[in-house]
Amino acid sequence: MLLQLLKISGISLYPVYRDGDFVLISKIPIFVNGIHPGDVVVFEHHRFGKLIKLVERLEDGGRSLFVVGLDAESMDSRTFGYVPVNRVLGKVIWHISKK
């Protein structure tokens, strides 16, 4: 899917992304420009389902992402390791916040 609207559930990206905010994600910017540190991406995790996290760095020649949340208790690459780039469903291109 080239564009997808998703609702955020959870607080690991608080205070930038809040529980209940909406994001529009797309794969197009990934095809055009790749993924870079600082991007916020949505990916499919085999255990936790669709997760949204901040890309901290790329490893393995750009094939793996180290993703983090902004909250100290975030479940992210510090807990479950690297995320293969082919699991990424899209990059956030529009953030629609309550505020």
């Binding site: 997808q4 609207l5 998703l6 609702k7 955020i8 559930s9 959870g10 607080i11 690991s12 990206l13 608080y14 992304y17 529980d19 209940g20 905010d21 909406f22 994001v23 994600i25 949505v42 936790f48 389902g49 669709k50 997760l51 949204i52 996290k53 949340g69 909250d71 100290a72 208790e73 975030s74 479940m75 510090r78 807990t79 629609i96 916040s97 309550k98």
Partner: protein
């Protein structure tokens, strides 16, 4: 404005969710409950042994209390596993694994000893479980730069436990 429109659409359509997955950030971690769990397992084995010595197996006392002891032993061995799993999975990060490389092996040992403590009434096994949990507690407090002391629990089964020096 747009947010409100989307919120209403979400009511009707139910957009798929992207989880900003996070544990509730209470930050309260303490191996104490796991230690209490291990002590309880030992205590239940002691009570089972005592019951066997003082009452006939087919006595009403024995029939009533044995299942209760076994049930509590089961629950507390499981409590040990749950408490250690939560601290290991949620609190321990790579930095701590680098500093204490024995941790994964120790956690695996605790899981196995806790399971064995459910399957058997072997006191030594339960004491080994307590010792492994004590070592876990020692490491846990060390990650917070908090000193520990080894003291005898002030209640039966009076085995030694690691406490933080606060």
């Amino acid at each position: 404005m747009l947010f409100k429109v989307l919120e209403k659409l979400d009511w009707v359509l139910g957009f798929e969710k992207a989880r900003a997955h996070c544990d509730i950030p209470c930050g309260i971690y303490d191996p104490h409950q796991a230690q209490i769990g291990a002590l309880t397992v030992i205590r239940m084995i002691d009570l089972m042994t005592e019951m066997k010595l003082t009452h006939a197996a087919d006595s009403p006392e024995s029939a009533n209390n044995m299942p209760r002891y076994v049930l509590v032993k089961e629950e507390h061995a499981e409590l040990v596993k749950r408490e250690i799993r939560v601290i290991f999975g949620d609190y321990i990060k790579q930095e701590q694994l680098d500093k204490f490389p024995e941790l994964p092996g120790l956690v695996h040992k605790i899981m196995q000893l806790a399971s064995k403590s459910r399957q058997t009434a072997d006191r030594q096994m339960a004491c080994d479980l307590l010792e492994a949990v004590n070592r876990f507690a020692e490491i846990f407090w060390a990650t917070k730069n908090i000193e520990t002391k080894r003291v005898k629990a002030p209640y039966k089964p009076s085995e030694e436990v690691i406490y933080p020096v606060l």
